[in-house]
């Protein structure tokens, strides 16, 4: 007897809600643990002086994971928007809108840590370096998404309109990135080095990847928490929410 796998079991908010409750503590614990390991490794198990960088390079353990998460979360946001528009599942829209604030925060974090690093290493807070500029544009895409959501009052329209906007942004991101990065193939000047994961010292790479996992776990935890709030708010008039929120002695 093979039981048919129900792909859509957790796509209903009512059945996702208890699952979310179970998942949150695990992801939070993982986030704290990984952060501790990552930062310990980054501060105490890595070489003190690299050839051209000084102690301040250690901001890399926040800067790079934050920048990666900012981009990854936008991809996930677009993915959930697409799924929502195709299958018309409410939870997908909720997930998409729960991702946006985290994405915006990581983008801002990447920008701020980048500015601090830039001041110490390049001697300037801001330069119109391609990656900085595209990260800034990404921040505005997140803000535009959230702005559109707060401007509309009808929940159904919020979901669909903001998802469409996320899709349009998602299609445009490669074009935007590459237009900023290299408008003329003959003159690509950038302050950032081209990414060189292979040339990096093994301990630094390890600490950095652990921090990426920590940020990922944190995003999971916080996004699921936000989804819970959105579910409660959207479904506040349903029976299961009133039952779930009843005081249980």
């Amino acid at each position: 007897m093979s039981e048919k796998l129900n792909w859509f079991k957790y796509s209903s908010p009512a059945s996702f809600y208890p699952l979310a409750d179970k998942m949150i503590p695990w992801f939070f614990m993982a986030a704290i643990l990984l952060t501790l390991v990552g930062l310990y490794w980054g501060f105490f198990q890595t070489p003190d002086v690299l050839s051209d960088q000084k102690q301040y390079y250690r901001i890399i353990f926040v800067h790079v994971p934050a920048a990666w998460m900012s981009m990854w979360l936008y991809i996930v946001l677009v993915g959930w928007s697409l799924i929502g528009l195709i299958f018309n599942t409410r939870l997908s829209f909720m997930l998409a809108s729960a991702i946006a604030p985290s994405g915006a925060i990581f983008t801002a974090l990447a920008l701020v840590t980048g500015m601090i690093w830039g001041k110490t290493s390049w001697g300037t807070w801001w330069d119109w370096d391609p990656r900085m500029t595209s990260e800034l544009i990404l921040l505005f895409l997140y803000l535009g998404y959230m702005g559109l959501q707060s401007a509309i009052s009808d929940p159904q329209r919020i979901d669909r309109a903001s998802s469409l906007l996320a899709l349009v942004g998602g299609v445009c991101i490669p074009v935007i990135y590459w237009s900023i990065n290299c408008p003329d193939p003959n003159q690509c000047a950038a302050l950032h080095q081209t990414s060189s994961l292979k040339g990096i010292e093994a301990n630094i790479l390890f600490a950095m990847l652990i921090m990426v996992l920590a940020f990922l776990a944190y995003s999971f935890a916080i996004i699921i928490m936000r989804v819970k709030n959105i579910i409660l708010h959207r479904e506040r008039n349903t029976l299961w929410v009133t039952e779930a929120l009843e005081f249980k002695p």
């Binding site: 544009i137 505005f140 895409l141 803000l143 535009g144 702005g147 559109l148 401007a151 509309i152 159904q156 329209r157 669909r160 309109a161 469409l164 906007l165 899709l167 349009v168 942004g169 299609v171 445009c172 074009v175 935007i176 237009s179 900023i180 408008p183 003329d184 193939p185 003959n186 003159q187």
Partner: protein
């Protein structure tokens, strides 16, 4: 040539052009705005020919961007308010061609005049005559992209109270590539002494992409906004 999409395209185009003709006064507004923005830049920046010349491509393009943004507000508004848009959505005709006709008519009225007046403003800013070809070509290729992409944003914010500010937040980040290649093509010629052809080719590619996909996305946005 009696493809149904083409017939509805023609009908819609004729209607929108007629409406624009009946409101001749409004046609001037984006143009005047455009001239004023350029004038403001010239007043704000130190009037030294060398400075003005270097910023001229950027100023002209930013002014075109802002003017396109402001004029986009009227693309669907009156149709939305008098219920025409609902009828349009209910009609059996292809929404793609209807939207394309509307955007084209809108561009002819609000975008093309900018292209025509731009050389005059560029001269005033001291742009060398050698750069005029690039200026006209880049605007001719770029401003339709602005209208096409902007239509998506306008359709999304239809009927919202905070519309004006909202559309800039939604649309300006997406305008970035057009701005970079548009202004780049002009300055490539006379500042960097390079060929501007790749820039113009990129703009042409954007135009083709926008022509294919933007009306489709606009149609989807209209369906979402008008329910």
């Amino acid at each position: 040539m009696n493809h149904p999409g083409l017939t509805s395209f023609k009908a819609m185009f004729k209607r929108d052009m007629l409406i624009a003709y009946r409101h001749r006064g409004e046609v001037l507004n984006p143009l005047l705005f455009y001239i004023l923005v350029v004038l403001m830049f010239a007043l704000a920046v130190e009037v030294r020919p060398a400075v003005l010349q270097t910023i001229a491509p950027g100023v002209i393009w930013v002014a075109a961007l802002l003017s396109a943004l402001l004029s986009l507000d009227s693309l669907f508004r009156s149709d939305y308010e008098d219920g025409f848009l609902e009828v349009m959505l209910l009609s059996p005709h292809s929404l793609y061609s209807l939207v394309l006709a509307k955007v084209l008519a809108h561009w002819l009225v609000s975008g093309l005049p900018l292209v025509v007046i731009a050389p005059l403003l560029a001269m005033a800013l001291g742009l060398p005559v050698v750069a005029m070809d690039e200026l006209i070509l880049s605007l001719l290729l770029g401003t339709p992209v602005l209208s096409l992409l902007g239509a998506i944003g306008t359709a999304l914010i239809l009927g919202l109270r905070s519309g004006g500010m909202m559309i800039s937040l939604l649309v300006l980040p997406i305008y970035v590539p057009v701005l970079i290649y548009g202004a780049g093509s002009i300055s490539a010629g006379f500042i960097d002494n390079a060929t501007s052809q790749p820039y113009l080719l990129f703009l042409a590619a954007f135009l083709v992409m926008a022509l294919v996909f933007a009306p489709w996305a606009t149609a989807a946005a209209l369906r979402i906004s008008v329910e």
